[in-house]
């Protein structure tokens, strides 16, 4: 041990700091781009320091999203659409999966294992794989361009059910017996005991599903054709179009920063739950 400890760790810090910088660089550049005018960016002369147009660009993006070449849809509406979609998917999936997990874990009934396997099978096929037939089903049901059509198919998945079932199996038998002796039925037990005990699991799952919902791309692309249902992620890609040099990059970049802020904030502020949820849902 001839080298003092802080110095021995120096290469480690250098690598990690480099990683942090490379990770953050695209977002930093997007932020810089969102503070300049389209002309400066289009000439390829954007400096690496913030420009004077921060407030103008963001105000424009939020309220109209119209530039000289881009005619987007106001970002405040797109953000609102994405928020509704993400929350609906997260809450919907949590409700249906906690109920089905409760049935599977706390009751004995004919076909129990059959239903469990049926739910389990959905792990096999992400929605992308069965996109065309699912679209066909949606149009047969008249759900194209509806909020239900946008969100409900994305609630199909086994991960929530598996997570809650796993947790329910750890609730001691004595709790159930005590509840029965006190005269509590299954619904009362669910509401007063199981639900409060599941709080952290629900929070963890919510964070993961919120990100999942917010970032959906292919499904909203197919199912929403009217602009007032457009999500922020799709709205930005449409604004960028074929990515010509002479376009309103300042507008696109301010919209991009607005689009990535909500999910990044959720991950950073709820990091404990996020890590828990990520590790558990994928196990």
């Amino acid at each position: 041990m001839t080298i003092p400890k802080p110095l021995r760790n120096l290469p480690v810090h250098v690598i990690l700091i480099l990683a942090v910088i490379v990770f953050a660089f695209p977002v930093f550049l997007a932020f810089i781009g969102s503070t300049w005018d389209a002309g400066t960016i289009g000439r390829g002369q954007m400096p690496l320091t913030p420009g004077p147009l921060l407030v103008e660009n963001y105000t424009n993006a939020l309220t109209s999203a119209r530039g000289s070449r881009v005619s987007g849809y106001p970002v405040q509406i797109l953000l609102w659409n994405s928020l509704q979609m993400a929350v609906a998917i997260a809450v919907g999936k949590i409700i249906i999966s906690i109920l089905s997990a409760y049935a599977i874990a706390f009751f004995k009934f004919p076909l129990r294992m059959f239903f469990f396997v049926m739910i389990f099978l959905t792990l096999m096929l992400p929605i992308e794989v069965r996109i065309a037939p699912t679209y066909k089903v949606m149009s047969d049901l008249g759900l194209i361009n509806t909020f239900a059509g946008l969100t409900i198919p994305l609630m199909v998945s086994a991960t929530g059910t598996l997570l809650f079932r796993q947790f329910f199996l750890t609730i001691p038998d004595e709790y159930v017996e005590a509840a029965k002796i006190d005269g509590a039925g299954p619904l009362r037990f669910f509401w007063s005991i199981v639900l409060p005990l599941s709080r952290t699991n629900i929070a963890a799952l919510f964070v993961i599903l919120f990100i999942y919902g917010w970032n959906q791309y292919l499904w909203p692309l197919l199912i929403t054709t009217s602009r007032d249902m457009e999500t922020i992620v799709i709205g930005i890609v449409k604004m960028m179009g074929t990515g010509e040099a002479q376009t309103d990059w300042n507008l696109i970049m301010s919209s991009t920063v607005l689009a990535l802020l909500p999910p990044v904030l959720v991950v950073v502020l709820m990091q404990q739950w996020f890590v828990k949820g990520l590790v558990q849902t994928e196990k």
């Binding site: 695209p26 089905s100 065309a132 199996l169 017996e177 292919l218 991009t256 990044v264 950073v268």
Partner: protein
Amino acid sequence: MQRRAIFNNRILPYFLLLPQLVITAVFFFWPASQAIYQSVLSQDPFGLRTTFVYLENFRTVLSDPLYIEAVQVTIIFSISVTLLVMTLALLFAVMADRQIRGAQTYKTLLLWPYALAPAVAAVLWNFIFHPSIGIVGRALNEWGVPWDYKLNGMDALILIVIASSWKQIAHNFLFFLAGLQSVPPAIVEAAMIDGAGAWKLFRSVLFPLISPTTFYLLTINMVFAFFDTFGVIHALTDGGPGRSTTTLMYKVYSDGYVNLNLGISAAQSVILMIIVSVLVWLQFRFVEGKVHYA
């Protein structure tokens, strides 16, 4: 497996299961069976007559040079993404696992890209690698390295690999870090007492011990590269230039939704279903192994 103490109620469990079962049946089993059903049918161009054609659609798909090309693109793309992501994520995880100052801060600062949509990652990297306005794209061209991802297929592939990997590293980093932190400190100390250096420690002790995590991430990254990168490709290259970034997933989309060839698209979906099923099955086999190693 079931718990011992249960409720006796004949009807309630079915009501609790109902919402999940209904949406699973309507939005999962119905379309999945439709895909299998359509994959053995052929429609005439006007959609008037449908005939049963056995595995004809599969033969058409698998003997189509364009499909083989998409298979090659998918393999190159997914292997590149997986290698890049896992190498860097493991490096960062090993570094962040050290007892260093600010480990938690580093963790937070490396974690957040997970929150980004692949399509948003594509927009961000486009802004960097754009041949005429991007800071790196312009620099490359000025230094005499011709760079234009809209003209050159290899450039396009490189760009979608970078954009996809950037988003995925955070996820792998987290799992590698969790894996490394679950290695008992006693084992590490024993190796150090035996005189193992940092590299030897990693190579002979840590890496074998986290191999279940590594294998798990391998399958997860394959699934990610196959499907979740659709947004990156759609936003950046639309499968081009030419077909240089048309992956299997992108081809299902363009054949089925853009060109409306249902039988062929369904056969492609079924092939993808088989690939995913194999990957998920492999994953579960190895998650079984994960429990025993500690």
